[in-house]
Symmetry: C2
Subunit: 222 residues, 2 copies
Amino acid sequence: MTPVPPTRRYDYVTDGLEIYRRSFGTIRDEADLRDFAPDLVTVATRIIHGAGDVDIVSALAATHDLVATARGALEAGAPIFTDSHMLASGVTRRRLPADNDVICTLREESVPELARQWGTTRAAAAVSLWGPRLEGAVVAIGNAPTALFHLLELILDGGPRPAAIVGMPVGFIGSAESKVALAEHRLPDGSQIPWLVVHGRRGGSAMAASALNALANESELA
Amino acid sequence: MTPVPPTRRYDYVTDGLEIYRRSFGTIRDEADLRDFAPDLVTVATRIIHGAGDVDIVSALAATHDLVATARGALEAGAPIFTDSHMLASGVTRRRLPADNDVICTLREESVPELARQWGTTRAAAAVSLWGPRLEGAVVAIGNAPTALFHLLELILDGGPRPAAIVGMPVGFIGSAESKVALAEHRLPDGSQIPWLVVHGRRGGSAMAASALNALANESELA
Protein backbone atom coordinates (compact mmCIF):
# COMPACT_ATOMS: atom_id res chain seq x y z
CA MET A 1 0.00 0.00 0.00
CA THR A 2 1.44 3.36 -1.02
CA PRO A 3 1.30 5.77 1.91
CA VAL A 4 -0.35 9.12 1.37
CA PRO A 5 0.61 12.34 3.15
CA PRO A 6 -1.79 13.58 5.83
CA THR A 7 -3.84 16.76 5.51
CA ARG A 8 -1.75 19.68 6.73
CA ARG A 9 -3.33 20.97 9.92
CA TYR A 10 -0.48 22.87 11.56
CA ASP A 11 1.74 25.71 10.43
CA TYR A 12 5.33 24.46 10.56
CA VAL A 13 8.49 24.50 8.47
CA THR A 14 8.90 21.24 6.54
CA ASP A 15 12.05 22.00 4.54
CA GLY A 16 14.95 20.31 6.33
CA LEU A 17 17.59 22.73 5.06
CA GLU A 18 15.41 25.71 5.97
CA ILE A 19 14.97 24.28 9.47
CA TYR A 20 18.76 24.00 9.82
CA ARG A 21 19.27 27.54 8.51
CA ARG A 22 16.70 29.10 10.82
CA SER A 23 17.93 27.05 13.78
CA PHE A 24 21.52 28.13 13.40
CA GLY A 25 20.36 31.71 12.76
CA THR A 26 18.47 31.69 16.05
CA ILE A 27 21.49 30.28 17.85
CA ARG A 28 23.74 32.98 16.40
CA ASP A 29 21.24 35.64 17.50
CA GLU A 30 20.92 34.35 21.04
CA ALA A 31 24.17 32.69 22.06
CA ASP A 32 27.17 34.64 23.28
CA LEU A 33 30.06 32.96 21.50
CA ARG A 34 32.47 35.91 21.52
CA ASP A 35 34.94 34.08 23.76
CA PHE A 36 35.32 31.14 21.37
CA ALA A 37 37.84 30.75 18.57
CA PRO A 38 36.17 30.64 15.14
CA ASP A 39 36.67 26.91 14.66
CA LEU A 40 35.16 26.22 18.08
CA VAL A 41 32.16 28.45 17.33
CA THR A 42 30.87 25.95 14.76
CA VAL A 43 31.25 23.11 17.27
CA ALA A 44 29.61 25.10 20.06
CA THR A 45 26.76 26.04 17.73
CA ARG A 46 26.05 22.42 16.92
CA ILE A 47 26.19 21.39 20.58
CA ILE A 48 23.67 24.14 21.38
CA HIS A 49 21.57 22.82 18.50
CA GLY A 50 21.67 19.28 19.91
CA ALA A 51 20.89 20.49 23.41
CA GLY A 52 18.14 22.90 22.39
CA ASP A 53 19.65 25.33 24.86
CA VAL A 54 21.90 28.33 24.28
CA ASP A 55 22.84 28.41 27.96
CA ILE A 56 24.86 25.22 27.61
CA VAL A 57 27.63 27.38 26.21
CA SER A 58 28.52 28.62 29.69
CA ALA A 59 29.59 25.07 30.58
CA LEU A 60 31.56 24.48 27.40
CA ALA A 61 35.36 24.48 27.46
CA ALA A 62 38.08 23.15 25.19
CA THR A 63 41.79 23.38 24.46
CA HIS A 64 42.72 25.80 21.66
CA ASP A 65 43.89 22.93 19.44
CA LEU A 66 40.86 20.66 19.93
CA VAL A 67 39.01 21.26 16.67
CA ALA A 68 42.03 21.23 14.36
CA THR A 69 43.49 18.14 16.00
CA ALA A 70 40.29 16.10 16.10
CA ARG A 71 39.31 17.06 12.55
CA GLY A 72 42.81 16.32 11.26
CA ALA A 73 42.78 12.90 12.89
CA LEU A 74 39.39 12.08 11.40
CA GLU A 75 40.46 13.29 7.95
CA ALA A 76 43.48 11.00 8.23
CA GLY A 77 41.15 8.06 8.92
CA ALA A 78 41.28 7.78 12.71
CA PRO A 79 38.54 5.70 14.31
CA ILE A 80 36.04 7.13 16.80
CA PHE A 81 35.62 5.30 20.11
CA THR A 82 32.47 5.87 22.18
CA ASP A 83 31.28 4.65 25.58
CA SER A 84 27.73 3.89 24.46
CA HIS A 85 25.98 2.44 21.45
CA MET A 86 23.50 5.30 21.61
CA LEU A 87 26.31 7.79 21.05
CA ALA A 88 27.80 5.70 18.24
CA SER A 89 24.35 5.61 16.67
CA GLY A 90 24.17 9.41 16.79
CA VAL A 91 27.22 9.89 14.58
CA THR A 92 26.01 10.95 11.13
CA ARG A 93 28.02 8.61 8.94
CA ARG A 94 27.83 10.78 5.81
CA ARG A 95 29.59 13.62 7.67
CA LEU A 96 32.66 11.45 8.37
CA PRO A 97 35.57 12.50 6.13
CA ALA A 98 37.15 9.05 5.72
CA ASP A 99 34.34 6.58 6.29
CA ASN A 100 35.84 6.33 9.77
CA ASP A 101 35.08 3.37 12.01
CA VAL A 102 32.82 4.21 14.94
CA ILE A 103 33.51 1.69 17.68
CA CYS A 104 31.73 0.88 20.94
CA THR A 105 32.97 -2.18 22.83
CA LEU A 106 30.30 -2.17 25.54
CA ARG A 107 28.67 -5.39 24.32
CA GLU A 108 31.90 -7.35 23.82
CA GLU A 109 31.57 -10.75 25.41
CA SER A 110 34.39 -10.28 27.93
CA VAL A 111 33.08 -6.98 29.34
CA PRO A 112 30.77 -8.20 32.14
CA GLU A 113 33.41 -10.56 33.56
CA LEU A 114 36.19 -7.96 33.38
CA ALA A 115 33.94 -5.44 35.13
CA ARG A 116 33.22 -7.98 37.86
CA GLN A 117 36.88 -8.95 38.31
CA TRP A 118 38.06 -5.35 38.39
CA GLY A 119 35.19 -4.08 40.54
CA THR A 120 34.19 -1.40 38.08
CA THR A 121 31.42 -0.62 35.64
CA ARG A 122 30.99 -2.34 32.29
CA ALA A 123 31.41 1.05 30.59
CA ALA A 124 34.84 1.42 32.22
CA ALA A 125 35.93 -2.16 31.52
CA ALA A 126 34.91 -1.75 27.88
CA VAL A 127 37.45 1.09 27.52
CA SER A 128 40.25 -1.40 28.25
CA LEU A 129 39.28 -3.27 25.08
CA TRP A 130 39.99 -0.32 22.80
CA GLY A 131 43.61 -1.54 22.49
CA PRO A 132 46.30 -0.13 20.20
CA ARG A 133 43.79 1.51 17.80
CA LEU A 134 43.14 4.04 20.57
CA GLU A 135 46.47 5.65 19.63
CA GLY A 136 45.56 8.72 17.59
CA ALA A 137 41.83 8.04 17.73
CA VAL A 138 39.04 10.46 18.62
CA VAL A 139 37.26 9.45 21.83
CA ALA A 140 33.82 10.61 22.94
CA ILE A 141 32.35 9.80 26.35
CA GLY A 142 28.68 10.76 26.58
CA ASN A 143 27.39 8.60 29.36
CA ALA A 144 29.63 7.10 32.02
CA PRO A 145 32.00 9.15 34.20
CA THR A 146 33.71 5.86 35.14
CA ALA A 147 34.63 5.33 31.47
CA LEU A 148 36.31 8.75 31.34
CA PHE A 149 38.20 8.23 34.62
CA HIS A 150 39.28 4.76 33.43
CA LEU A 151 40.54 6.19 30.12
CA LEU A 152 42.57 8.88 31.89
CA GLU A 153 44.07 6.22 34.16
CA LEU A 154 45.01 4.01 31.22
CA ILE A 155 46.77 6.96 29.58
CA LEU A 156 48.61 7.81 32.83
CA ASP A 157 49.77 4.18 32.95
CA GLY A 158 51.44 4.71 29.57
CA GLY A 159 48.67 3.29 27.38
CA PRO A 160 47.80 4.45 23.86
CA ARG A 161 47.05 8.16 23.57
CA PRO A 162 44.02 9.32 21.64
CA ALA A 163 44.33 12.40 19.44
CA ALA A 164 41.42 14.15 21.18
CA ILE A 165 38.85 13.49 23.91
CA VAL A 166 35.26 14.72 23.97
CA GLY A 167 34.26 14.46 27.65
CA MET A 168 30.52 14.78 28.11
CA PRO A 169 29.41 12.15 30.61
CA VAL A 170 26.10 13.06 32.22
CA GLY A 171 24.74 12.67 35.69
CA PHE A 172 24.85 13.33 39.38
CA ILE A 173 27.67 11.06 40.61
CA GLY A 174 31.18 11.63 39.29
CA SER A 175 30.18 13.39 36.08
CA ALA A 176 31.35 16.90 36.97
CA GLU A 177 34.47 15.50 38.66
CA SER A 178 35.42 13.39 35.65
CA LYS A 179 35.33 16.44 33.40
CA VAL A 180 37.51 18.43 35.79
CA ALA A 181 39.92 15.47 35.76
CA LEU A 182 40.04 15.58 31.96
CA ALA A 183 40.61 19.34 31.90
CA GLU A 184 43.46 18.98 34.42
CA HIS A 185 44.95 15.80 32.92
CA ARG A 186 48.58 16.11 31.84
CA LEU A 187 51.01 13.82 30.11
CA PRO A 188 54.45 13.30 31.70
CA ASP A 189 55.86 16.16 29.60
CA GLY A 190 53.20 18.53 30.93
CA SER A 191 51.24 18.67 27.67
CA GLN A 192 47.57 17.87 27.31
CA ILE A 193 45.66 15.64 24.96
CA PRO A 194 43.25 18.10 23.26
CA TRP A 195 39.87 17.98 24.99
CA LEU A 196 36.35 19.37 24.86
CA VAL A 197 33.98 19.22 27.82
CA VAL A 198 30.57 20.33 29.00
CA HIS A 199 31.33 20.98 32.65
CA GLY A 200 28.91 20.07 35.41
CA ARG A 201 26.22 17.43 35.47
CA ARG A 202 24.88 17.94 31.98
CA GLY A 203 26.20 16.23 28.88
CA GLY A 204 24.96 13.00 27.36
CA SER A 205 24.89 11.10 24.12
CA ALA A 206 22.98 13.75 22.19
CA MET A 207 25.42 16.56 22.98
CA ALA A 208 28.44 14.30 22.47
CA ALA A 209 27.07 13.18 19.09
CA SER A 210 26.55 16.82 18.11
CA ALA A 211 30.18 17.50 19.03
CA LEU A 212 31.44 14.55 16.97
CA ASN A 213 29.29 15.54 14.00
CA ALA A 214 30.71 19.06 14.15
CA LEU A 215 34.30 17.85 14.51
CA ALA A 216 33.85 15.48 11.57
CA ASN A 217 32.69 18.18 9.19
CA GLU A 218 32.46 21.95 9.45
CA SER A 219 29.28 22.12 7.36
CA GLU A 220 26.32 23.35 9.36
CA LEU A 221 23.75 21.67 7.18
CA ALA A 222 22.54 18.07 7.46
CA MET B 1 46.24 -10.24 25.06
CA THR B 2 44.33 -10.11 28.32
CA PRO B 3 43.67 -6.51 29.33
CA VAL B 4 44.72 -5.41 32.79
CA PRO B 5 42.98 -2.72 34.82
CA PRO B 6 44.77 0.61 35.14
CA THR B 7 46.23 1.94 38.38
CA ARG B 8 43.52 3.79 40.29
CA ARG B 9 44.44 7.45 40.31
CA TYR B 10 41.11 9.15 41.01
CA ASP B 11 38.58 8.82 43.78
CA TYR B 12 35.29 7.80 42.19
CA VAL B 13 32.45 5.34 42.71
CA THR B 14 32.86 2.27 40.49
CA ASP B 15 29.89 0.17 41.63
CA GLY B 16 27.16 0.61 39.03
CA LEU B 17 24.28 -0.08 41.42
CA GLU B 18 25.76 2.28 44.00
CA ILE B 19 26.03 4.98 41.31
CA TYR B 20 22.35 4.50 40.48
CA ARG B 21 21.36 4.59 44.16
CA ARG B 22 23.30 7.75 44.92
CA SER B 23 22.13 9.39 41.69
CA PHE B 24 18.46 8.81 42.42
CA GLY B 25 19.02 9.83 46.05
CA THR B 26 20.47 13.15 44.90
CA ILE B 27 17.57 13.68 42.52
CA ARG B 28 15.05 13.00 45.30
CA ASP B 29 16.86 15.47 47.55
CA GLU B 30 16.99 18.24 44.98
CA ALA B 31 14.00 17.91 42.66
CA ASP B 32 10.60 19.24 43.55
CA LEU B 33 8.28 16.44 42.42
CA ARG B 34 5.39 17.16 44.78
CA ASP B 35 3.04 18.04 41.94
CA PHE B 36 3.48 14.67 40.21
CA ALA B 37 1.42 11.54 40.70
CA PRO B 38 3.48 8.69 42.22
CA ASP B 39 3.73 6.74 38.98
CA LEU B 40 4.92 9.84 37.13
CA VAL B 41 7.54 10.56 39.80
CA THR B 42 9.54 7.50 38.76
CA VAL B 43 9.40 8.59 35.12
CA ALA B 44 10.31 12.20 35.96
CA THR B 45 13.20 10.97 38.11
CA ARG B 46 14.66 8.96 35.25
CA ILE B 47 14.27 11.85 32.80
CA ILE B 48 16.13 14.10 35.27
CA HIS B 49 18.77 11.38 35.51
CA GLY B 50 19.15 11.25 31.73
CA ALA B 51 19.27 15.03 31.47
CA GLY B 52 21.65 15.55 34.40
CA ASP B 53 19.43 18.44 35.39
CA VAL B 54 16.76 18.65 38.08
CA ASP B 55 15.39 21.84 36.53
CA ILE B 56 14.04 19.93 33.53
CA VAL B 57 11.09 18.99 35.73
CA SER B 58 9.60 22.47 35.31
CA ALA B 59 9.08 21.69 31.60
CA LEU B 60 7.65 18.21 32.15
CA ALA B 61 3.94 17.59 31.67
CA ALA B 62 1.80 14.52 31.08
CA THR B 63 -1.76 13.28 31.15
CA HIS B 64 -2.79 11.50 34.36
CA ASP B 65 -3.14 8.18 32.54
CA LEU B 66 0.16 8.30 30.66
CA VAL B 67 2.26 5.93 32.75
CA ALA B 68 -0.41 3.26 33.32
CA THR B 69 -1.47 3.30 29.68
CA ALA B 70 2.02 3.17 28.19
CA ARG B 71 3.22 0.52 30.61
CA GLY B 72 0.10 -1.57 30.07
CA ALA B 73 0.56 -1.40 26.31
CA LEU B 74 4.20 -2.46 26.58
CA GLU B 75 3.35 -5.30 28.97
CA ALA B 76 0.78 -6.48 26.43
CA GLY B 77 3.50 -6.57 23.76
CA ALA B 78 2.97 -3.28 21.92
CA PRO B 79 5.84 -2.13 19.71
CA ILE B 80 7.73 1.12 20.29
CA PHE B 81 8.07 3.49 17.32
CA THR B 82 10.80 6.15 17.37
CA ASP B 83 11.76 8.96 15.01
CA SER B 84 15.51 8.31 15.21
CA HIS B 85 17.85 5.35 15.35
CA MET B 86 19.71 7.07 18.16
CA LEU B 87 16.59 7.01 20.31
CA ALA B 88 15.86 3.39 19.39
CA SER B 89 19.43 2.56 20.37
CA GLY B 90 18.89 4.17 23.76
CA VAL B 91 16.09 1.80 24.76
CA THR B 92 17.48 -0.69 27.27
CA ARG B 93 16.22 -3.94 25.83
CA ARG B 94 16.38 -5.92 29.09
CA ARG B 95 13.92 -3.45 30.67
CA LEU B 96 11.24 -4.20 28.06
CA PRO B 97 8.47 -6.33 29.58
CA ALA B 98 7.61 -8.34 26.44
CA ASP B 99 10.74 -8.28 24.31
CA ASN B 100 8.89 -5.50 22.46
CA ASP B 101 9.91 -4.49 18.98
CA VAL B 102 11.62 -1.09 18.79
CA ILE B 103 11.09 0.29 15.32
CA CYS B 104 12.57 3.25 13.44
CA THR B 105 11.72 3.55 9.76
CA LEU B 106 14.00 6.49 8.97
CA ARG B 107 16.32 4.43 6.77
CA GLU B 108 13.61 2.63 4.81
CA GLU B 109 14.36 2.82 1.12
CA SER B 110 11.23 4.77 0.18
CA VAL B 111 11.72 7.56 2.74
CA PRO B 112 13.86 10.04 0.77
CA GLU B 113 11.55 9.93 -2.26
CA LEU B 114 8.38 10.26 -0.17
CA ALA B 115 9.89 13.23 1.65
CA ARG B 116 10.75 14.85 -1.68
CA GLN B 117 7.29 14.19 -3.19
CA TRP B 118 5.48 15.45 -0.11
CA GLY B 119 7.80 18.40 0.50
CA THR B 120 8.55 17.40 4.05
CA THR B 121 11.42 16.00 6.10
CA ARG B 122 12.54 12.40 5.98
CA ALA B 123 11.71 12.10 9.68
CA ALA B 124 8.10 13.08 8.93
CA ALA B 125 7.79 10.87 5.85
CA ALA B 126 9.14 7.92 7.85
CA VAL B 127 6.18 8.23 10.25
CA SER B 128 3.82 7.42 7.37
CA LEU B 129 5.50 4.00 7.10
CA TRP B 130 4.52 2.94 10.61
CA GLY B 131 1.27 1.53 9.21
CA PRO B 132 -1.34 -0.47 11.10
CA ARG B 133 1.08 -1.55 13.86
CA LEU B 134 0.93 2.03 15.09
CA GLU B 135 -2.51 1.21 16.53
CA GLY B 136 -1.96 0.71 20.27
CA ALA B 137 1.81 1.26 20.03
CA VAL B 138 3.97 3.52 22.18
CA VAL B 139 5.52 6.35 20.16
CA ALA B 140 8.52 8.43 21.17
CA ILE B 141 9.69 11.47 19.22
CA GLY B 142 13.08 12.70 20.43
CA ASN B 143 14.40 14.62 17.49
CA ALA B 144 12.16 16.04 14.77
CA PRO B 145 9.22 18.39 15.44
CA THR B 146 8.05 17.64 11.89
CA ALA B 147 7.68 13.96 12.80
CA LEU B 148 5.43 14.85 15.74
CA PHE B 149 3.29 17.27 13.69
CA HIS B 150 3.02 14.65 10.92
CA LEU B 151 1.93 11.99 13.42
CA LEU B 152 -0.76 14.26 14.88
CA GLU B 153 -2.00 15.01 11.37
CA LEU B 154 -2.17 11.31 10.48
CA ILE B 155 -4.24 10.67 13.60
CA LEU B 156 -6.57 13.59 12.82
CA ASP B 157 -7.04 12.08 9.36
CA GLY B 158 -8.38 8.93 11.01
CA GLY B 159 -5.16 6.91 10.96
CA PRO B 160 -4.09 4.33 13.55
CA ARG B 161 -4.01 5.63 17.11
CA PRO B 162 -1.03 4.91 19.33
CA ALA B 163 -1.65 4.04 22.98
CA ALA B 164 0.66 6.81 24.19
CA ILE B 165 2.96 9.48 22.78
CA VAL B 166 6.24 10.67 24.30
CA GLY B 167 6.82 14.07 22.67
CA MET B 168 10.35 15.32 23.21
CA PRO B 169 11.63 16.76 19.95
CA VAL B 170 14.51 19.17 20.51
CA GLY B 171 15.48 22.42 18.88
CA PHE B 172 14.83 25.98 17.93
CA ILE B 173 12.36 25.69 15.05
CA GLY B 174 8.99 24.05 15.70
CA SER B 175 10.00 22.04 18.72
CA ALA B 176 8.11 23.99 21.39
CA GLU B 177 5.12 24.41 19.06
CA SER B 178 4.94 20.69 18.27
CA LYS B 179 4.74 19.86 21.96
CA VAL B 180 1.97 22.39 22.52
CA ALA B 181 0.15 20.79 19.57
CA LEU B 182 0.47 17.37 21.22
CA ALA B 183 -0.75 18.66 24.58
CA GLU B 184 -3.77 20.27 22.87
CA HIS B 185 -4.47 17.43 20.44
CA ARG B 186 -7.93 15.92 20.72
CA LEU B 187 -9.68 13.01 19.07
CA PRO B 188 -13.13 13.63 17.55
CA ASP B 189 -14.80 12.57 20.83
CA GLY B 190 -12.78 15.17 22.74
CA SER B 191 -10.53 12.64 24.43
CA GLN B 192 -6.74 12.67 24.29
CA ILE B 193 -4.19 10.04 23.49
CA PRO B 194 -2.11 9.89 26.69
CA TRP B 195 1.02 12.02 26.28
CA LEU B 196 4.21 13.08 28.00
CA VAL B 197 6.21 16.14 26.93
CA VAL B 198 9.20 18.26 27.87
CA HIS B 199 7.89 21.67 26.86
CA GLY B 200 10.10 24.25 25.18
CA ARG B 201 13.21 23.76 23.09
CA ARG B 202 14.83 21.06 25.16
CA GLY B 203 14.23 17.35 24.73
CA GLY B 204 16.20 14.96 22.59
CA SER B 205 17.00 11.31 22.22
CA ALA B 206 18.62 10.94 25.62
CA MET B 207 15.61 12.30 27.54
CA ALA B 208 13.16 10.40 25.35
CA ALA B 209 15.10 7.17 25.88
CA SER B 210 15.05 7.79 29.64
CA ALA B 211 11.28 8.21 29.44
CA LEU B 212 10.83 4.99 27.46
CA ASN B 213 13.09 3.07 29.84
CA ALA B 214 11.05 4.31 32.80
CA LEU B 215 7.74 3.52 31.13
CA ALA B 216 8.95 0.02 30.24
CA ASN B 217 9.88 -0.89 33.79
CA GLU B 218 9.36 0.86 37.11
CA SER B 219 12.67 -0.40 38.53
CA GLU B 220 15.10 2.46 39.18
CA LEU B 221 18.19 0.31 38.87
CA ALA B 222 20.01 -0.61 35.66
